[in-house]
Amino acid sequence: MATQTDAGDQKLHAVPSAEDEAGQAYFDKIIAEDSRIEPADWMPEKYRKTLTRQMSQHAHSEIIGMQPEANWITRAPSLKRKAILMAKVQDEAGHGLYLYSATETLGTPRHVLNEQLMSGKAKYSSIFNYPANSWADMGAIGWLVDGAAIANQVPLCRASYGPYGRAMVRICKEESFHQRQGFEILLELANGTPAQKQMAQDAVNRFYAPALMMFGPTDTDSPNSQQSMAWNIKRFSNDELRSRFVGMIQEQVKVLGLTLPDDEIRYNEETGLWEHGELNWDEFYEVLAGRGPCNAQRMERRREAHENGAWVREAAAAYAAKKAQKAQVA
């Protein structure tokens, strides 16, 4: 049986072996049929690498994404809101774990992925490097950030790599609660006192542009997109998904009685696409490069949490070893 490490050695061969050629042909056939690649299948080294990068970044984003919200659990305005927020943060941890499991099937063990996150070698979504300053931010994050995530993730349920698609199906089912609870936080604030309504509007103003940037650079600046689309990992371009999202939220914001901080939103009859104002891509690249408002804090918290949890992991492993030894003796 071909193991994952064997597949990892393919790049060492200068000339493709007969096995590689047969593998490539089979891979191409599966992709052409829009079928699914499974872990034990032969796959091009670049496909494996692209997926490992994308899926682990996605997993890291879920894990780091716990922080802005966990920060509000103790200050949530009611017991109901605390319970909801805890459930949501727990879901994010779960989503991270589904995605780490799926990524592992490509051959990189979870502890290595985790090290890549903590050493700063791996990236995560830049959105989580923005602070959550007010309670209304919990609403804006749920509505806009989780909303953008859903718009991005629904097509990923059909990604050509089986384990990724399956993880995404599970995640998408759970995300819809996240978006709705956020929307309802904003709705309640928008119907509250003028100060509460202002707080909701401020949150929307701050999260609007960063949420749109979650879809990634414009199509002209996204060189890897084409290959990902040819491999059926990505189904729609960044700009297509962003446009679709703008169309959805410009309608939803009316229900809130709030406005989006963009007066250039319009539907282009010709292209059938929603258009929006220019985004500040310099800011996007700054945050991505680690110079966003919260990058340092997020990484520090992540490392701290990992170190503080060491004794739990060690104790669990020691207990398991002791029990296994006892069982052997008995």
Binding site: M1, A2, T3, Q4, T5, Y26, E38, P39, A40, D41, A87, Q90, D91, G94, L97, Y98, S101, A102, E104, T105, G107, P109, R110, H111, P163, R166, A167, R170, E174, R313, E314, A315, A316, A317, A318, Y319, A320, A321, K323, A324
Partner: protein, 110 residues
């Protein structure tokens, strides 16, 4: 399904509590009368913790009434390289399906 991940050589020589936890495959029975279906995988130090973690990870919304966890390393798979050949035999044996028998079409309760 996740493949078992072997620890790198330098880790096997380290203390047991420094080793990555083994990988388990999780199967969930969604309700009585149905089979357990593969849901995903997770890492846990032992079987008991694997079951607890599986509950937290895969049944947060009443998705199951019963769980199985199996060490990923205990799963034996058919040879992925064999692809078609291994499953060749049933192909061309349409007579194993009811739809093969067309002459009796229209006969009631058959």
């Amino acid at each position: 399904m996740a493949q078992p991940v072997k620890p790198a050589p330098e880790e096997t020589s380290a203390l047991s509590d420094k080793q990555p936890w083994p990988l388990w495959e999780v199967f969930v029975r969604s309700s009585r009368g149905l089979s357990h279906v593969h849901a995903g995988s997770l890492h846990a130090p032992d079987a008991e913790m694997a079951v607890r973690n599986a509950r937290d990870l895969y049944t947060r919304r009443n998705e199951g009434v019963s769980l199985w966890v199996v060490p990923a390393s205990a799963i034996v798979a058919s040879d992925p390289d064999a692809k078609g050949e291994f499953f060749e035999s049933p192909k061309g044996k349409d007579y194993r399906h009811a739809t093969y028998y067309t002459k009796s079409e229209g006969v009631k309760h058959l």
